[in-house]
């Protein structure tokens, strides 16, 4: 028994490093190597039972478990946010089973496991994106039989997908698919990019990072090596377009990021905020301010006498709910984001009522 197989405490079970046994890791690793050799092709693999339900990211977790090591720093995002339930529990899982270093900063991470988003900050060479994929087969909604879709991929028979996109245009005037928008990989395989918004599709094209996709329930692994051609399917007279918004992020003022619509009261009030929480926070720290970012001093929530404000700490100064005596106590940035969002919401209600 090696060191990392030893029970850490009296109560903890003695799992192998990164939870999976070595035989399973080898099987997943072989699948990953075949996946990068044939970009976009879905390699079947023996998906294991994980300590959470299928559909909660078991594919991504198994891929991460097969590649993670002591030299890695892990970031996990769920819908762009580092602080949602799924992201927090997956980070904890790897902290516990693989002693993983974790981070919320995109540029510090070597492995980024994601559900439904690609970070706004550009990815770098050497980083690995791991996508959690609910439905790896882009043709499944059009052809339910696996034996048939397999033949369609084998013979590059993708007319059905083009017809589906054409029917959208004929009926609605545009392609209505806004997430999991099908892409052509390396000019050969049509691939489901997982339910990322089509806004993120262009980021996959020629990305310097390695991108791995794991579908636990559907038992498929596929991959995009760095610098691989990824083209969103479209027509010459209806070219692929990404989403755009009429207003910038309400908190950081970004006009080039993917925005979530947040309902903030029961009178129709709403705001748009960056879905990438780390990106939004980084921008605010750099001094960018959206129109709805709460300002505690302007609202009269805090007394702005020089003795209670720590110079240069804007985050503390605009938080109306913190006790001034606690300022500078090293509150983590994650909760600062939470409170900043509350500021905006409260500000708005305050103005309207």
């Amino acid at each position: 028994m090696t060191m990392h197989q030893m029970p850490a405490g009296d109560t903890k079970p003695a799992y192998n490093y990164a939870y999976l046994d070595e035989q399973t890791k080898r099987m997943i690793r072989r699948a990953l190597l075949k996946a990068v050799a044939v970009p976009g092709y879905q390699v079947p693999f023996g998906s294991r039972e994980m300590p959470l339900a299928r559909g909660w990211g078991t594919g991504g977790i198994q891929v991460t478990a097969a590649i993670i090591g002591p030299a890695d720093t892990l970031k996990v995002i769920d819908q762009g946010a580092d602080d949602t339930t799924n992201a927090v529990s997956i980070r904890k899982f790897f902290e516990r089973t693989a002693d993983a270093r974790t981070t919320e900063a995109t540029e510090e991470a070597t492995i980024i496991q994601t559900r439904h988003r690609i970070p706004e900050a550009p990815l770098k060479a050497g980083q690995v994106m791991v996508y959690q994929v609910p439905m790896p087969e882009p043709l499944r909604r059009l052809e339910p039989r696996e034996a048939e879709t397999r033949k369609m991929h084998a013979w590059a028979e993708y007319g059905l997908m083009q017809v589906k996109l054409y029917e959208d245009i004929a009926r609605y005037g545009e392609i209505t698919k806004t997430y999991d928008y099908p892409v052509m990989v390396n000019g050969r395989y049509v691939m489901a990019p997982s339910p990322i918004p089509k806004f993120d599709n262009p980021k996959m094209h020629m990305s310097p990072a390695l991108q791995l996709f794991g579908a636990g329930r559907e038992k498929r692994i596929y991959a995009l090596p760095p610098h691989t051609s990824v083209k969103s399917l479209d027509f010459e007279d209806h070219p692929f377009r990404i989403q755009s918004w009429t207003e910038p992020c309400g908190l950081c003022g970004a006009s080039d990021s993917y925005l979530d619509e947040v309902v903030i009261d029961d009178r129709g009030g709403r705001m748009f905020v960056c879905s990438d929480s780390h990106h939004c926070e980084t921008r605010r720290e750099a001094g960018h301010r959206g129109t709805m970012l709460g300002d505690a001093t302007a609202s009269g929530f805090v007394d702005l006498s020089p003795s209670t404000v720590i110079p240069g700490d804007r985050r503390e100064a605009r938080d109306p709910f913190r006790n001034p005596t606690e300022q500078g106590s090293g509150m983590d940035p994650g909760s600062a984001v939470g409170s900043a969002r509350d500021d905006g919401a409260d500000m708005q209600t305050g103005v309207k009522s």
């Binding site: 070595e22 690793r29 075949k34 044939v38 079947p44 590649i67 013979w155 390695l210 995009l224 610098h227």
Partner: protein
């Protein structure tokens, strides 16, 4: 020859050593042509380069039949792989999941190995090709996934006609064998997706 001298030690710490080695292999096959060092403290059996031995130790097990040239198979390498990986050693190259091949040996041809099927291209053989050196040979210009524009490699000691076989293999895409070229403790990846041209 006794068993003790025939079978050298494998990984001291299988979990972390194979993880490190796998990340090197993943990087090598996802960015073809970049030479990686896979140095680790293992004693490779006679006939296997260090990098070949670590790659097989990392990836092979009882689920993956291995094809070896006759001298390796009958020597310490065969016993070493049977002991550490539990792999079956097969006679037919087309049945092998992994194979070790000397780049200078005239036989077998790359086409003798399993290229996968049109519905399951992942079932192809992964070939460990042991070269005389990974640099200094005739320049080959690579392009394809994992390569921003083009990338040059110059493996030394390839048999006559091997470059043409590699080109034929790439032309089978999405079928074809994937190769890991090794020498000493260094390796580079050459998956089937990589197109190969000769420099002029």
């Amino acid at each position: 020859m006794t068993i003790e001298t025939a079978i050298a030690a494998g990984f001291r710490d299988p979990v972390l050593q194979s993880q490190t080695a796998f990340r090197t292999l993943l990087a090598a096959l996802s960015e073809p042509g970049i030479v990686h060092s896979i140095a680790d403290a293992i004693a490779a059996p006679e006939g296997l380069h260090q990098a070949s031995a670590i790659a097989l130790l990392t990836l092979a097990d009882y689920e993956t039949p291995i094809w070896l040239p006759q001298p390796l198979r009958d020597g310490p390498t065969g016993a070493w792989l049977r002991f550490h990986c539990g792999s079956t050693l097969v006679d037919d190259p087309a049945r092998a999941a992994f194979a070790v091949l000397d780049a200078a040996a005239p036989e077998p041809k790359l086409s003798a190995f399993h290229p996968g099927t049109d519905q399951f291209p992942d079932r192809s053989t992964t070939l460990v090709l042991q070269c005389a050196a990974l640099a200094g040979g005739e320049a080959l210009v690579l392009s394809g996934p994992g390569i921003p524009e083009t990338r040059s490699i110059g493996p030394l000691g390839l048999r006559d006609g091997l470059v043409a076989e590699l080109q034929d293999n790439a032309a089978l895409y999405p079928l074809g064998v994937d190769l890991v070229l090794t020498h000493g403790d260094r390796l580079l990846g050459l998956p089937r997706s990589t197109r190969i041209g000769e420099a002029r």
